[in-house]
């Protein structure tokens, strides 16, 4: 191999990389919080909500889980303007991420809810707890504890999948890599560095999620 690695070629672009890195982190954090909120609502609707709501949530979940993320993103960004809904690429990126994670986490959390023993709910009812109290303190607390590792994995998957938003010119880490590559043609170095950054991000995210898990569920 005669290729000479020249990482110094990347130095003039460090601010673009940093900007991309921050965008990816912010995108992941916000869509994680909002996506899990959507997922919780979806799961609660499917298990405790009115009957007519179930097929609607089910349709949402199946549509998202059975179509590629990039198609969802392109539909929101390039498709919706035809219907009069014009979003900036940043809004479209956030929306697509929340939309996507929301569906997956609906199913994950629902699995947790269904694993809660009926007797626990009955115990809550016999203590005269309200429906909301039962949901909050008995069902969701146990459900989240059970599915927390699965949820954490899904968050990492969504974070790595967010690379796709570069395709609609949202300026994330992958966009920064593509931009630098189109300027200095150092594809090997650029993508190597960016792959390492994603790896570090994923490792850091796992560590943070584990820490958060220990705080929320002290016994686990």
């Amino acid at each position: 191999m005669t290729y000479k690695l020249q990482f110094a070629e990347l130095l003039p672009y460090w601010d673009i990389l940093l900007h991309g890195l921050i965008f990816t982190i912010v995108l992941t954090v916000i869509s994680t919080v909002a996506g899990i909120a959507v997922g919780t609502a979806g799961a609660a609707a499917r298990t405790f909500g009115p009957k007519w709501l179930d097929p609607i949530v089910a349709a949402y979940v199946e549509i998202v889980r059975n179509t590629p993320f990039i198609v969802q993103l392109f539909f929101i960004f390039f498709g919706l303007p035809a219907a009069g809904v014009k979003l900036t690429e940043t809004t479209a990126a956030f929306l697509a991420m929340v939309f996507n994670l929301g569906a997956y986490s609906t199913e994950i959390i629902r699995a947790g809810i269904e694993a809660v023993p009926k007797a626990h709910i009955e115990a809550g009812e016999s203590l005269a707890m309200s429906r909301l109290q039962i949901l909050r303190w008995i069902v969701l607390k146990q459900a989240f504890q059970k599915v927390y590792p699965a949820l954490a994995s899904q968050i990492i998957i969504v974070m790595l999948g967010s690379a796709v938003v570069s395709q609609i010119s949202a300026e994330d880490l992958t966009y920064a890599a593509n931009y630098i590559q189109s300027r200095n043609f150092r594809a090997f170095e650029v993508y190597l560095v960016v792959a390492l950054l994603y790896l570090l991000l994923a490792i850091a995210a796992r560590a943070i999620l584990r820490g958060v898990g220990r705080i929320i569920f002290p016994k686990a």
Binding site: P81, Q167, S169, N178, S182
Partner: protein
């Protein structure tokens, strides 16, 4: 554009070979006289470069370059023999006398000028800033505070990044199709792209035809012909100037490029 670059590489080798050919042409009579005598002019046109030249639904070549070839033949009062070539072999066709003229969206550069002669420009080929009709922008400064889309890494995107005011937001898309989609869907009202791309957008998107605001980089097309043919060169130049004056070129531009000739042309 890529094909042109690849060609110039091939040309370096061909330059050597062409000396032998040029030696022959000196002994030869003048090409214009031959054309007038045989009543046929052989013209090499592109087969793979719409809208300049590509196969139509009847598999016959069609495009700006083909119309240009026929126009020249008509002015000379001879028949045009159209030879479809690729961008890699268009100059060899000329050098081996299989063609009298190359009308094949040929750009001018110093390497090529060493081996063949060029007429005056006959077709505009440039990248420019395009936008919806309502937007007024005549120079880079007018883009201040505006958002403009371009294909990442393309020549016009790099020019744009260098020249726009700092308040301009440049949205960089992955490929030409994403840039086109962004414009058609209304995500951006301005784009920087090639005039042939703009022509294809105008064809697809009747509701939002892109209007040229200003030229970013200009590299017009020239007709290529063999060296040492002053009579043919003069005649071709005369025909082009006349076509420019009497609106024939403007018609071709409207027909194939869906736009008027740029003022600088």
């Amino acid at each position: 554009m890529l094909a042109r670059g690849r060609l110039s590489f091939a040309l370096t080798g061909l330059a050597v070979a062409s000396f032998a050919v040029l030696g022959l042409s000196a002994a030869h009579a003048d090409a214009l006289a031959d054309i007038m005598k045989s009543k046929v002019i052989k013209v090499a046109v592109p087969q793979d470069f719409a809208p300049f030249g590509s196969a139509g639904t009847d598999l016959k070549p069609q495009g700006y370059d083909i119309d240009m070839a026929n126009l020249i033949a008509k002015e000379l009062g001879v028949k045009a023999e159209i030879i479809a070539v690729t961008s890699a072999n268009r100059i060899p066709y000329l050098q081996t006398k299989k063609a009298d003229l190359v009308i094949s969206s040929l750009g001018k550069n110093p390497e090529r000028e060493k081996v063949i002669d060029f007429s005056v420009a006959y077709a505009p080929f440039f990248s420019g800033v395009y936008g919806t009709k309502a937007i007024a922008a005549a120079r880079y400064e007018d883009l201040a505070g505006k958002t403009i889309g371009a294909t990442r890494g393309a020549i016009e995107e790099q020019e744009l990044s260098k020249s726009v005011p700092s308040s301009t937001v440049v949205k960089r898309y992955e490929d030409n199709n994403a840039t086109i989609a962004a414009f058609i869907s209304g995500q951006v009202d301005l784009i920087a792209t090639g005039n042939t791309v703009a022509a294809s957008i105008a064809e697809k998107s009747v509701a939002r035809p892109p209007v040229l605001k200003f030229v970013v980089k200009d590299s017009p097309c020239y007709i290529g012909l063999n060296k040492e043919e002053p009579a043919l060169l003069a005649k071709v130049n005369e025909i082009i100037s006349k076509a420019k004056k009497d609106g024939e070129l403007e018609k071709l531009s409207q027909k194939w490029l869906k736009a008027s000739l740029p003022e600088s042309f």
